[in-house]
């Protein structure tokens, strides 16, 4: 039973003080049969009160506000978590029966949300591709593995090539992306053949000897629903089953449901975001692992409530007028 010590640091720095920020964090590992949180501490600069609730998808969500002017916001989450290996699905049921079972889920909560397809330009191409890729006697499990390999082989993993604002159309044209794009593409492919698929955010915790994509930051992958088995984690970025090395934070339809940290504030929109995730292991010294170098990752950004609206223009104009007078 692996045990991981994870330190996840998120730091926003602003060139000038901002105020009235409202924030939402989804940084609490899921607690279930395969994952147990032994200890978690979240410290936020300014020590705001964090109010938590369980959202529609069962994720624990924290929210806090920070009204006083501040030039930085630091969120430090330290987790001690234990994971268990989940047995992989067997192949002992006839494929046809399994596909039939999946059809029954189409009009059921919660699967209905994980089967819904959003239209995008490449939709028909993807559909044709999925039909061609899927083999007739595949079980859903085999289809999942096949699609994961497809995404892994056909999309290039390039850090920073996309952001949370990149649309599915753009990713489809680029044929490249980061883990969240890989996860989005795979969920789409699975939904197209009727396999409920959801987006997962979390951490990847590899052994020191190996390196995998997605380390040092928050990671994302997918989960597919397999009849008589349940949710199966699948990581298309690394083309592997997401099992005891993947620590889950949240599940949802897509990234927007799982966004680990987001916020809105008043002030200039420029800011810098640094995220680092460091993982220590059970046999490490008892002290928390030191975080690695911060990496600048445009994972997502808070939106200022001060874009160019008429009020802003008005304020700018006032400023302009005053400056004009002051120049004399």
């Amino acid at each position: 039973m692996p045990e991981f010590k994870i330190q996840h640091l998120t730091k926003y720095t602003y060139p000038a003080p901002v105020r009235d920020s409202a924030n939402q964090i989804i940084l609490y590992p899921i607690q279930d049969e395969w994952q147990e949180v032994i200890k978690q501490e979240i410290h936020i600069s300014g020590d705001p009160v964090i109010d938590t609730f369980i959202d529609y998808y069962g994720n624990k969500v924290g929210s806090f506000t920070y009204s006083e002017p501040h030039s930085a916001l630091l969120i430090n989450s330290k987790i001690l978590v234990q994971t268990k290996h989940k047995q992989l699905p067997g192949n002992d049921i006839f494929p046809a029966q399994q596909w039939e079972d999946l059809k029954q889920l189409r009009y059921m909560v919660p699967y209905i949300d994980f089967l819904r397809l959003e239209h995008f330009e490449g939709f028909n191409d993807l559909k044709a591709l999925v039909e061609a890729e899927k083999s007739k006697d595949d079980t859903p499990y085999q289809a999942v593995l096949r699609f994961s390999r497809y995404v892994y082989d056909n999309f290039q993993y390039i850090k920073g090539v996309t952001s949370v604002e990149t649309t599915m159309d753009e990713i489809w044209k680029l044929k490249a992306g980061v883990c969240q794009d890989f996860a989005h593409i795979l969920t789409l492919m699975l939904r197209l053949v009727g396999i409920p698929a959801r987006y997962v955010s979390g951490y990847i915790c590899t052994h020191r000897s190996t390196t995998m994509r997605g380390e040092g930051a928050t990671h994302a992958w997918a989960e597919a629903y397999i009849p008589d088995y349940g949710w199966l984690g699948i990581d298309p970025t690394n083309n592997c089953i997401a099992n005891e090395m993947h620590v889950r934070l949240a599940v949802g339809r897509n990234f927007l449901d799982c966004s680990p940290v987001k916020g809105v504030y008043k002030g200039a929109s420029e800011h810098r975001l640094d995220v680092s995730v460091a993982v220590g292991y059970e046999d490490d010294a008892p002290s928390m692992h030191q975080p690695g170098e911060f990496i600048d990752m445009p994972e997502h950004k808070p939106v200022t409530t001060f874009p160019k609206n008429s009020y802003q223009r008005y304020m700018e104009m006032l400023l302009q007028q005053q400056q004009q007078q002051q120049q004399q």
């Binding site: 002017p69 104009m317 006032l318 302009q320 007028q321 005053q322 007078q325 002051q326 120049q327 004399q328």
Partner: protein, 310 residues
Amino acid sequence: MLSRVAASLYWLSRYVERSDGILRMLKINYASSQDTVQEFTWEPVIRIFAGHDEETQKLGNDSRAVMRYMVCGKNNPNSILNIITLARENARGVQEHITKDLWQCLNEYYHTVKDNRIDNALKKDDPVSVLDVLIKQVMLYYGTVEITMERGEGRSYMNIGKYLERGIQSVDILDTKFGSIDDNPDLLTDTTYWKHLLLSLGGYELYLKTYREGFEAENVLEQVVLNNDFPRSVIYSVNHIQRYFERLKNDSNIDDYRELSFYIGRLQSHIKYSSVKTIKEEGLHLFLTQIRSQLYGIGDALNNHYFANS
């Protein structure tokens, strides 16, 4: 009172006061342009109210072009048209806090200045008549405020805005006029020059009554900075800022109140305990620069502490 509402009342009032200053300035300068042997220049007016840029360069010294730019210029952020549009928008957002009469009055001012006939008349008719039509709108506004507005917090913010704007204008005008003397010492003895300065501030008649010995730069300075009874003097404006600010005293924001009260008091003393002599010793330009920056400081402090824009 909502901070936004207070800020809107304050700005509404600053804009109307500014429009008044601009209109009077235009009227006097136009008269001056018709009445001078020397080369008349619109340059100081443009400098005070519009600033220098490509657009104002093009105006040259063409009186009608300057006036059209200052009154109807769509691209001039400080044109009467633009600032009255802003004044009206501020009023629109606080309609429940001003009287219906006042709203209708501002509305009429707005529709008057927006009317194409104003621009056309500035092109070819008598500009003074046009300016008078607009000045009358401002006077109607002040009368309506006086008669209909409730004597409460809202009116205090309006008056603070009005006197702050007026104080800044008087300082700017003085600074510009006296600044020109440095370049052209002959102006010091030029009667018309001082007469126009006083006229544009509406202080000509008071001057004649107060000073019998003709136009002296020092006397003009004394009246415009230090005369408690001259409604456009700097000290008069500051006294009124203080008077209306005092009414905002409230237990729940006593710290904010004290801070602003200190700024205003300091400025008031600074002026009150100055004389033409000390001002000359200190240097007029330096003195005016300090006064101006303290007036701006009061505006900033209001913004931070009362209008929630910290």
